[in-house]
């Protein structure tokens, strides 16, 4: 990649709210501890998670959005199942008792974009707020759409990421649905350097669609993937975050044929959290350029090039793995 320029957007903060491996119930997260006792109890857990993840990302960056004019602040959040449970609760209330028993303070959260909108309210982000929902890749798409809009001049800083909470128990795949949130804070490299800050690295995101009917290794699939590689075409290690599917197989085959090695396949749960988590992990380990690819069985493919760990500019110092852990 090119050397960093002042206007390049870099990830200066990472915040994650994820259940510990041994979590047996929902007690691992308490919004009152994370956010305070204000009106957060009316939010779905996914909304509480992402507020907490954003707060951690900004703390990790050592700054706040208040240093930037409100109209230059932006938010882009991906989610697939973030309001499925609250919609389920609402619907059962309506079916059994009627709409009058819905909580007016919670009712707005039937609208899934409010998960992102609530982050915008919290940080007075008036540049724009985006809510993305493509299967599995929505969190990466949130980064892509947010970064594109910032590059277009629609804002200067961006909180982007993903948030999910488990599907209602009766729904298909509920037991393997994602839970938690990861947020990344993007600032211009020059601004980070000016305040003596540090960054993890850069993310460059591209997307494509690979029909499940295209079999792996076909010439067309190879052309589509090759045309969608972000940044220069060079052999890099790949983390492919995908459920087992013909599309995932095709993506893995195409990347291997293009010289990307190794292609490490990582499982994903229902939702779009795991792909963003893989981006955060790659940024934190800072072992050099790599590609994180999110892939849905429905054909959505989003490729993120991570340039981490090597950049140093001005007073800024890359974050070490130890410092970030």
């Amino acid at each position: 990649m090119d050397p960093l320029r002042d206007n390049d957007l870099v990830v200066s903060g990472i915040g994650a709210v994820l259940p510990p491996a041994e979590a047996a119930d929902e007690s691992w997260f308490d919004h009152r501890v994370e956010l305070g006792r204000r009106s957060y109890k009316y939010l779905p857990r996914s909304g509480q998670y992402v507020l907490a993840a954003a707060k951690r990302a900004l703390a990790d960056a050592g700054t706040t959005m208040a240093t930037v004019p409100e109209e230059r602040r932006a938010v882009a959040i991906g989610c697939n199942n973030a309001t499925a449970r609250i919609q389920d609760e609402f619907d059962r209330t309506v079916l059994e008792h009627g709409a009058d028993l819905l909580s007016p303070a919670s009712a707005a959260y039937f609208s899934v974009n409010l998960v992102a909108g609530r982050v915008a309210m919290e940080h007075a982000a008036r540049g724009f707020s985006l809510a993305l929902h493509s299967p599995t890749v929505a969190g990466l798409e949130a980064m892509q759409c947010g970064l594109r809009a910032v590059a277009r001049g629609r804002a200067d800083v961006l909180l982007a990421g993903a948030t999910e909470e488990p599907l209602p128990p009766a729904e298909p795949a509920a037991r393997r649905s994602a839970d938690g949130s990861v947020a990344l804070y993007f600032e211009r490299a020059g601004a980070v350097a000016d305040r003596g800050g540090r960054w993890y690295g850069r993310c460059t995101v591209r997307g494509c669609y690979l029909s499940p009917e295209l079999t792996g290794g076909t010439a067309r699939a190879g052309r589509i993937i090759a045309a969608s590689i972000p940044g220069p075409a060079e052999p890099l290690p790949v983390r492919l975050v995908a459920e087992a599917s013909p599309v995932a197989d095709a993506v893995a085959d195409c990347l291997a044929a293009l010289g990307y090695d190794p292609v490490l396949r990582l499982p994903t749960r229902a939702g779009c959290l795991d792909a963003v988590r893989a981006v955060a992990d790659a940024l934190r380990t800072g072992t050099g350029p790599c590609l994180v690819v999110g892939c849905a069985a429905e054909g959505n493919v989003t490729l993120t090039r991570i340039d981490a760990g090597g950049a140093e500019r001005g007073r800024a110092v890359p974050v070490s793995a130890e410092a970030a852990s």
């Binding site: 974009n113 493509s134 299967p135 594109r148 277009r152 009917e213």
Partner: protein, 393 residues
Amino acid sequence: MVDVVITGLGAASRLGIGVDALSRGMAEVRYAPPEPIADPGARVPVPLFYRLPDEQLPPGPDEALGLPVGRANLLALDSARQATRSARLVPDPDTRVSVLIGSSVADVHVVERWRTDGYPQRSRWVPVFSAASAIAADLGADGGAVSLSNACSGSGYALAIGADMIAAGETDVVVAGGMETYSRVALACFNRLGALDPNGIRPFDRHRAGSILAEGAGCLVLESAEHAHRRGAPVLARLLGSGWSCDGHHATAPDPTGTQIARAMRAALDDAGATPDDIDFLVPHGTGTERNDATESVAMATVFGDRLAKIPLYSLKALIGHTGGASAALAVAAAVLFCQQGWLPPNVPVAEPDPDCPVLLPADRTPLPGRTGMVNAYAFGGNNMSLIVAGGE
């Protein structure tokens, strides 16, 4: 700057399937009162909804990509097919086509039906927002398939993001739009928020008391003027610019100062290289809620000054209801038709205009002095979008 043009349109609303149905319905002011939704589970004070008659639904698959196809996906799929047909877009491995579809709740009614009729015996996850994927598969599009919400401004954002993708050289052609259908949860929550009018939708009326939700879908084909010219595509209109902002104020209520929605309008004008004096007509968001219409009027007055009283508005939701995530795409489709025909259709008459909303809503067919219009779209979460559309000449 890349000149982004609109080369295809597709529409579905209570006026029928297709752009011709939309055009005729507007020209003939085919108003109809909303009817109670046929859902015994919808225990709500205001059960009104505008829904397409079942017999008008386009034929379509029950499943796509192994997922159930609900009414929203079906209408979006059909609208995308209409749009690509009118754009004379044919699959070409050398043309990168991207799909972006906005919606508020997508096909969540499929899950709502499971709750009353029983859950399916399947282990595979059913992501509710999958319309863009299904459309991309149907069209043979490989430049990405993005499903987004941004609630009732969703398809406005789909169009704006799509135009940015073309300008950035990421894709050649964009099929962008939105869709919405009946959802028991959405209807119930709008009821609980006091956002529905038991007397029907009456934007800018002094006695308006809320919106009426509606089914619909709209899709447009965008590409650069150069790309359209190269493939001999019909240029219907130009998408000159977009303005984005977020109130960051309240979950459902607009910031009453209208500061951010005025900023979105100005940003769209700047993006288009235009001034307020260049705007010949407006298609407002105009939902019929007391706060939306008042706030939008304040913001329009801020941007257009005294001239606001002379710019004709076309209040589309008064005729077809509030189609949520589809509403911006349908409004832009209508604006394209206005640019082509050079006149605004008669508005549904406003019984008693609100003096706090000093806007011009002609009840007669109104010739346009020029061919440049602004379309506004707002949403829960304070997501604001303004788009500038101009004639294709």
